[in-house]
């Protein structure tokens, strides 16, 4: 089984130095592209490979690139979104820490494809080890002539900078990330104009996820058909899948796209901890709808998870067991989203704390029957189309699905806690 993204990662997870990366074929894709491919040909290849964005939205990477006007004057920007902060998500950390050159090569090839001359790694502050390793790898790449002026004698120029953030989940939203890089509050921008046309400092800009860009050198080296065949389903490639929660062996694995929820939990994560039963899981981070025991055979790819009423998201799953309170679980998620709301639009800023208060009341025995209606209503008020960006609708995904699948848990809390309080 091919694991192109992780096969060369050392057991001790220490990063591959430049010469070690070159020994296993590193920077060959860059040579190939600079020697004999046009930017348009690279874009066409990536489009043909059917690579979809691994940051959560799943948009076609090649198609995204094609919106950049090729004749626009420089500067143009290529940015890697390495601000991994979706609760329950820990996949990009591995690539950032252990294979920095793979990411850098992916960035240079991608920058060539859109003819960008400036690139940024927007890295989460908490990833200290990654910061150190990427900084060093960028330095090595400059020294070797893979970055800077006239790369490998091709006439193509590219600079790369590491920017470490200062917190806030909002920075992961593409346009908020751009505002943050411009030294502003990380609030989202109205679209259109889309960043591909008017992004960082008003210039054409592409923002891609870490895992997405790490796929690029392999697609260039081995072709679009090879990449498609890595997958078990119609979505191409491999995927970094993770499982956390009360399973026997929480972890992260690169597997063919389209393994089932059951395989992830039972085979790779070793099943539930003794004495616990699987009740549900958020398949791709905190802002995805619950899947339940009825969905164990769902394939973890974009269309299959969508057909089951959720989203593949980041592909890192958080498991809910039968001894963990559903109300507490959802409250924890809503607390996160309420705290991380940028405050820019009203439904999100006001609605999320309100929901948190209601859930808190239910948990503390102060819940009322009417609260259920209030929660139902809020999943609509904060849903798609009513807010400026995807933060609040994302927050409603676990809530609405919990109210759907685990409604009795909420109702029982309201009923029994009230009774218990009355006894006191």
């Amino acid at each position: 089984m091919d694991r192109p993204l992780t096969e060369h990662i050392r057991e001790d997870k220490r990063p591959l130095a430049l010469k070690d990366y070159e020994k296993v074929g590193g920077y060959e894709a860059l040579r190939k592209v600079l020697k004999g491919m046009t930017p348009q040909a690279v874009q066409a290849l990536v489009k043909e490979s059917n690579l979809r964005g691994r940051g959560g939205a799943g948009f076609s990477t090649g198609l995204k690139w094609s919106f950049v006007p090729m004749d626009a004057p420089k500067p143009k920007y290529l940015i890697v979104n390495a601000d991994e902060m979706e609760p329950g998500t820990f996949k990009d950390r591995l690539l950032l820490e252990s294979t920095p050159h793979q990411l850098i090569e992916g960035m240079i090839v991608s920058a060539f494809a859109i003819q960008a001359d400036q690139s940024f790694v927007f890295l989460r502050w908490a990833y200290k080890e990654a910061a150190k390793n990427i900084e060093h790898a960028i330095h090595e790449a400059y020294e070797a002539g893979y970055l800077g002026k006239n790369i490998l004698g091709s006439g193509f120029d590219l600079d790369m900078h590491l920017h470490t953030g200062v917190g806030r989940y909002m920075c992961g939203e593409e346009t908020a990330l751009l505002n943050s890089l411009e030294g502003k509050r990380a609030t989202p921008r109205a679209k259109p104009p889309f960043p591909q046309v008017s992004g960082l400092f008003g210039r054409p800009t592409i923002v891609n996820n870490v895992e997405t860009l790490c796929c690029i050198p392999h697609i260039v080296n081995k072709g679009a058909t090879w990449f498609q065949k890595l997958s078990l389903t119609s979505d191409a490639g491999t995927k970094l899948y993770g499982v956390s929660g009360k399973v026997k062996k929480p972890g992260l694995w690169e597997l063919p796209m389209g393994v089932t929820v059951r395989e992830l939990i039972e085979e790779h994560a070793g099943g539930m901890q003794d004495g616990l039963k699987f009740r549900g899981a958020l398949p791709g981070g905190a802002s995805t709808d619950f899947l339940t025991a009825d969905h164990l055979d769902v394939k973890m790819d974009y269309p299959s998870v969508a057909a089951a009423g959720s989203r593949l998201g980041t592909g890192t799953m958080i498991v809910l067991d039968d001894k963990t309170s559903v109300v507490g679980f959802v409250k924890n998620l809503i607390h996160f989203f309420a705290q991380e709301s940028c405050g820019f639009c009203t439904p999100c800023r006001e609605g999320l704390p309100w929901i948190e208060k209601v859930l808190n009341a239910i948990e503390e025995g102060e819940g009322h029957k009417e609260d259920m209606k209030m929660l139902d209503l809020h999943t609509k008020l904060l849903g798609p189309g009513n807010t400026f960006c995807a933060l609040a609708p994302g927050a409603m995904e676990p809530l609405q699905s919990a109210l759907n699948y685990f409604r009795a848990d909420f109702e029982q809390y309201i009923k029994e806690q009230k009774a218990a309080m009355a006894m006191v």
Binding site: P87, F90, A126, R185, A186, S244, P250, L252, G328
Partner: protein, 167 residues
Amino acid sequence: MESEIWNMKTNESMLTAEEKHKIDEAISIVPYKKAACIEALKAVQSHRRWISDDSLKDIAAYMEMSSEELDSVATFYNMIYRKPVGRHIILLCDSISCWVMGYENIRTAVMQRLKIKYGQTTLDDRFTLLPNPCLGTCDHAPALMIDNDLYRDVRVDQLEEILDRYA
């Protein structure tokens, strides 16, 4: 011009040569000064632990922006500290995987041991305790960071030994 006016108001800028050097470096890669203001806040905070009102004014003057505008940025980001913090900062992950894995026990133990709550600093100025969203190491929950060090699969019985490493 604007910076001169600000300098007059706040007397001489107290930014050190080293801080200015770091800020200048950040300014050199963006099209206009203001765009590097987060880097400037980081640079000064790395030397002074936090951003005081005086520091804020000095940085704003250097970046040719009003201190109000800079403060609107500084207060948005949770890793820019606008209140004094201790020598070491404990960031306790309170997000979903850590919650499922029982981070609340770690929280209680740290608070009892250090006799502080979230947002507080120990009397000896040694630790500040802050809640923090997901640290991105969910397969090793519960997790916490102290300064630049990440601790994973943390158990209550390890806390004493971990905290003892920080003077």
